[in-house]
Amino acid sequence: MTFTPLNIVLFGIIALLGVGFYGLLITRNLIKIVMVLQVLIKSVILALVLAGKLSGNLGLGQSTAATVIVADTIVAVVGLALAVQVRRRLGTLDVPQISSMRG
């Protein structure tokens, strides 16, 4: 297997996705979950630009990546607002503890 720059980028994308999925599995804190989603979306942005470059249409890849960046930011904002309100109401950010609460 030859290691061209694009192969290296693909390796990096898969590794970042792997680290993100690993974090999603082991994380319990709501704010940390938002951060792990950010890591995952960054690898998706890289993958979109790489796909655009490979297909010879970098502009399309960039425009899709720009949309994903906006959506990613809104996910972070809404997720953090949700986490802050949950912390104020329930006094915890631990997801299993929040799930076990009733009433």
Binding site: I8, V19, G23, L25, G56, N57, T73, V77, A81, R87
Partner: protein, 164 residues
């Protein structure tokens, strides 16, 4: 030379991502997340996507970091990450298997010869993907609502308790 730059930036991003996940203090994890954004935007620039690199650097390393620091300051110092429910070796094995399968499926795609013909970002965004622009406007509007939720000090239901 280009391969070395890609390798350094991506290895740095992967290291920072791992450190952000295993860090106990959320403030440290926030700083690592900003580093990931900077390294990913450098990689995007090397790939030729300069506009998206600038967006990623300003939004990812700037705005999101500020929002995360603000959220950590609101929830306080006790915002630590407790131990995971799933055993870490099991999670590592599952993720490793998924990554190997993904690599096995994705690597043949890189060998495809790049097609010719391209649009620049402006014509692609404003002519071919106008719907994306409208979706972005709607998303930004909902983001403003999210910021209001983040900044609001009032706890819902508190007024009724005082009146009783």
């Amino acid at each position: 030379m280009e391969s070395i730059q890609y390798t350094v930036f991506l290895l740095g991003a992967i290291f920072c991502a791992y450190r952000a996940i295993v860090a106990k203090r959320i403030l440290s994890a926030t700083i690592y997340l900003a580093c990931i954004s900077a390294l990913v935007s450098a990689t995007l620039y090397l790939l030729g996507a300069a506009q998206v690199a600038v967006m990623e650097l300003s939004v990812g390393a700037g705005l999101v970091t500020v929002l995360l620091v603000y959220a950590v300051s609101v929830v306080g110092d006790d915002a630590m990450d407790p131990a995971s429910v799933i055993p870490k070796p099991l999670a590592f094995g599952v993720v490793g298997l998924v990554a190997v399968l993904l690599g096995w499926m994705a690597f043949p795609a890189v060998r495809i010869t790049a097609a010719t013909g391209s649009f620049d970002l402006a014509s692609s965004l404003w002519q071919n993907r106008v719907l994306d622009v409208w979706i972005q406007i709607a998303l930004i509007f909902s983001g403003v609502m999210g910021v209001l939720g983040l900044l609001s000090e009032k706890v819902p239901g508190a007024k009724e308790e005082v009146e009783q």
